[in-house]
């Protein structure tokens, strides 16, 4: 049976490959945001 085309048109392998990069970029973004929040917390604790 031909592989079922996905709604997005990506193959499972392409989706997994893209997701690996997406996780790296998102983790970097979240890490930088955490550092920024720590700096603000040191500057002016908001709780």
């Amino acid at each position: 049976m031909a592989e079922q085309a996905s709604l997005s048109g990506l193959t499972p392998d392409q989706a997994k490959e893209f997701h690996e990069q997406f996780k790296i970029t998102y983790t970097t973004f979240a890490g930088l945001a955490a550092v920024a929040h720590l700096l603000v917390l040191v500057w002016k604790p908001w709780f």
């Binding site: 996905s6 709604l7 499972p12 392409q14 997994k16 893209f18 002016k44």
Partner: protein, 54 residues
């Protein structure tokens, strides 16, 4: 016809399947722009508080 049973996803191991629905070539930039709009909104709100402004 019997209701097609779609197995519940197990996350985070099935997270990648979102890209079988959303094509990143189309949707990555709108997703990033939505994050930017939310971030700008939150920053504007926080900056409007004199305690967190300079």
């Amino acid at each position: 016809m019997a209701e097609q049973q779609i197995p519940k996803p197990k996350n985070p191991e099935d997270d990648w399947k979102v890209w079988l629905v959303l094509n990143p070539a189309t949707w990555l930039m709108p997703i990033l722009l939505a994050v930017l709009v939310i971030a700008l909104g939150v920053h504007t709100m926080v900056f409007s508080n004199p305690a967190f402004s300079w």
